[in-house]
């Protein structure tokens, strides 16, 4: 069994009112430890609802969720411990900052975990350098920082808890391209250093393609597929029907294939595309 597993997980909003809506419909997934997973889907497809089940913020209407082999809600007093295991960074996390200094805000989670003062201190400093916040910002108020910096402080606040699973909901929303790359790189770096499971919800296929090694596609409250990027992006037509776009480079290569140039694999990153094209050109030169 993987680190996160769900069994026929369903969730209904507003049961018994005129606003009743099925947000998740019998979702079955099994995510292995150490995976870097991207979750994609249109607005309202159930992505955010799904991830809030992974640390017990929402309770399934029916079905089960297992974290690290332990069933959620089987023992309510364990819920807080599970939240330390599964760290969740919400959309626009900078709106949750509240302390008067950056240091205190990042330390909030680790202190709640009951760690010693030295341990907290070390984690805060380590995480700040990981997310690229200079030490002199430590005593500043988080409300004085720039948007991108605030975002990184908020993410650091969860990373400092060093959860076994880190889940980020749209961590790049509303940032400029530079800020976006920065956040994505630090997520990759975190995954590389810690080797823990990381999940990333995003609208942007380019972001996902650049970052993850597994993709989970949600469509209309259901799980459409959970597989490697190659296999997911191979389904250009289905994704199109769902209103999702494959990365531009995949689209370009799809057209090239339609016009008769054969490539062996699905292409979803520009680097890989470059390699393929160079190889193809070389083969041609050899032949001629």
């Amino acid at each position: 069994m993987g680190i996160i597993k769900t069994q026929d997980l369903s969730y209904v909003y507003g049961e018994g009112t005129p606003f009743r809506k099925v947000a998740l419909d019998k979702v079955n997934i099994d995510i292995e430890e150490g995976e870097l997973v991207g979750i994609i889907g249109r607005t309202g497809s159930g992505k955010s609802t799904l991830i809030q089940h992974f640390n017990g913020l929402l309770k399934a209407t029916s079905g089960k969720v297992f974290i690290d082999g332990e069933e959620l809600f089987s023992d309510k007093s364990r819920l807080r411990q599970i939240r330390f295991k599964v760290g969740l960074v919400f959309q626009y996390p900078e709106y949750q900052l509240f302390e008067d200094t950056v240091y205190k805000d990042i330390a909030y989670g680790p202190i709640n975990m009951g760690l010693s003062r030295e341990e907290v201190d070390e984690r805060v400093k380590r995480t700040m350098s990981l997310v690229g916040l200079k030490p002199e910002l430590m005593q500043k108020s988080p409300f004085e920082l720039s948007g991108g910096q605030k975002r990184r402080v908020a993410i650091a606040g969860v990373m400092a808890m060093e959860p076994k699973v880190l889940i980020l909901d749209e961590p790049t929303a509303g940032l400029d391209p530079h800020g976006r790359d920065r956040i994505l790189n630090l997520i990759k770096e975190y995954h590389r250093q810690k080797g823990s499971t990381v999940m990333l919800v995003s609208h942007s296929m380019e972001d996902i393609a650049k970052t993850v090694n597994k993709i989970l596609v949600m469509n209309d409250s259901r799980l459409f597929m959970y597989d490697t990027p190659e296999r997911v992006f191979a389904k250009v037509k289905e994704l199109d029907n769902m209103g999702l776009t494959v990365p531009q480079i995949t689209r370009v290569f799809d057209r090239l294939r339609d016009s008769g140039i054969a490539f062996s694999d699905e292409v979803y990153s520009v680097d890989y595309a470059k390699k393929l094209v160079l190889r193809l050109l070389q083969e041609k030169r050899v032949r001629s």
Partner: protein
């Protein structure tokens, strides 16, 4: 969670009650409240209850929503109930135990008051359930507008109310979101002493206030960009019009009110 709060919530529909002119509905609600408060006995109260039941049945609102709206005031009902039970000392003594004496009048008053409060809440909830906040504040503005002669800011007050009502669900959602985010960081809101719990609210209240101020600034700016400058010379997209069903509803309500008054005079039970 907090999303279950029903204050100011509106459930769209097309029933007779939904279609009434909001001004008329406001007036009728006031008449209903008067009915409840002038009733001297259970019979008079019964007339009010029949009136509300009829309105409720024709509105198509679910019964569970009504009970939900009463739930938050249960402590108030219990508190006043206990006070009435122990401190009304007239009438026949039913139970006497030490210095505690429960009399027939006390019991009567307790039940009477409890029923009155419950149906008061139900009646006003029916108004907000079937009238959109916009329509309601529109009605309030119209009702208050004659007071403009004495420089009473009717439009401004109505606008403030509209905005406040409009932002209740947003702020509730925001509170929910921030609470979730802090819980995910290990905030413990459910255990500990009163002081600890109050302290645990700080990480929720500060971001909430920050965001409320940010939203207020954004809204003010957006309103100014659209040349909002108060109520002078402002026209409405939806003109309110009192029609046949409104007059009919007024007639029916007046009959009920008259009934209560007659009962008070001839049968004050």
């Amino acid at each position: 969670m907090i999303k279950d709060i029903t204050i100011g919530q509106y459930f769209p529909g097309s029933s007779l009650v939904h279609r009434l002119d909001p001004r008329m509905k406001l007036g009728l609600t006031v008449m209903y409240i008067v009915m409840l408060f002038i009733a001297k006995g259970f019979l008079g109260l019964g007339v009010g209850i029949v009136f509300l039941t009829a309105a409720f049945l024709s509105s198509g609102i679910q019964l569970s929503l009504m009970t939900k709206s009463v739930k938050p005031i249960v402590p108030v009902i219990l508190f006043t109930g206990v006070l009435n039970l122990f401190f009304v000392s007239t009438g026949e003594v039913l139970v006497s135990w030490g210095f505690i004496r429960i009399t027939e009048d006390g019991l009567r008053t307790m039940i009477f008051m409890a029923v009155r409060i419950i149906f008061l809440i139900c009646g006003t909830s029916l108004l907000t359930y079937t009238t959109s906040p916009i329509a309601l504040t529109d009605a309030i503005e119209r009702v208050l507008s004659p007071l403009r002669i004495i420089r009473f800011p009717a439009h401004e007050i109505a606008m403030i109310m509209t905005i406040a009502l409009r932002f209740i669900p947003i702020l509730i959602e925001e509170t929910d979101k921030i609470t979730s985010a802090q819980k995910a960081r290990g905030a413990d809101l459910e255990s500990g002493s009163v002081l600890q719990r109050a302290k645990a609210l700080v990480p929720i209240l500060i971001p909430l206030f920050v965001s409320a101020f940010r939203r207020a600034e954004d809204l003010a700016l957006a309103m100014e960009c659209r040349c909002y400058h108060g109520g002078d010379g402002r026209t409405r997209m939806k003109q309110l019009k009192v029609g046949f069903i409104d007059w009919l509803a007024l007639a029916v309500t007046s009959l009920f009110l008259a009934g209560v008054i007659l009962l008070n005079i001839f049968l004050p039970l």
